[in-house]
Symmetry: C2
Subunit: 147 residues, 2 copies
Amino acid sequence: MQILQILQEDGRRAYTDIAHQLGLSEGTIRSRITRLLQDGVFQFVIHPDPEKLGLHVQAIIGLTTKLGLQNSVAEELSKFPEVRFVGAFSGKHDLIIQACFHNNEELITFVNERLSQCEGILAADVSLELKQYKDSFSFVRDEDVAI
Amino acid sequence: MQILQILQEDGRRAYTDIAHQLGLSEGTIRSRITRLLQDGVFQFVIHPDPEKLGLHVQAIIGLTTKLGLQNSVAEELSKFPEVRFVGAFSGKHDLIIQACFHNNEELITFVNERLSQCEGILAADVSLELKQYKDSFSFVRDEDVAI
DNA sequence: TGGTTTTTTACGAAATTCGCAAAAATCTTT
DNA sequence: AAAGATTTTTGCGAATTTCGTAAAAAACCA
């Protein structure tokens, strides 16, 4: 957990660095990280800033799907590169997705052409992001580390 | 863009590796990545699997806030470690957040004790995640790379 | 075109990672 | 509690990568 916490802040911290910080050998850190990766506990990735990439429009879209087609719709939507999150939910909407676009034009096109062509979507409830406060994969909590 | 695309798949790929793949020198890759980091275009992070960390319950919660308190509520919620996403939106809900919990008990506690104690929240619309299809920071699209 | 700035390249030095075998620790079973 | 088996940690030298930096190349701009 401490290793995850350190890598959360900087995914490129050297094994030797982490080892020094935690009072362990480089080999230990290396073998643990290798094991965590093999077990699929985490992955090394990058977190781009959408704004800096020209993706100025983000939206969360709640979808109502035709009974029985929820799964296929979800899998279809997961293929789109502009869609970064797809989940099935209890509550008002069967599916909730999150997507990024360069501009409003692109969002409208996505809703009107892509979504409408997707068999099984009955309704789409679009919420436009006005301001982002937090967006992270920081799952590791201090409480979990302390144990 | 090609560098980002490569690092999206493996945030730990060596500069020399990337350089070979793109037919450039190690120094070029290094200076470009250094510049991208300085400009805040992306960060090196890890993507943990919440399930593997025992976070079996995920939820998206739409919030209605008292006029004028939206901002302070959002900033307050951003401090919680269990909250991974906070955004202000147009549409039905003023704020939409995404959070992870070990179990339903923890979610209920969060809603009843944490949220209720947060001055300015008028209503909370909880959607429980039943299945996750996609969750990534893969903002870089092939279209953008090709340019 | 000539000069300026930016980017790329090259390369030795420093640091990191890798491979692996021995030591230590942990777990099992009796 | 001991003996044996398994897992984890450690300690190296070797291979690889990164770093620092100065020169070359390219791009930019009057």
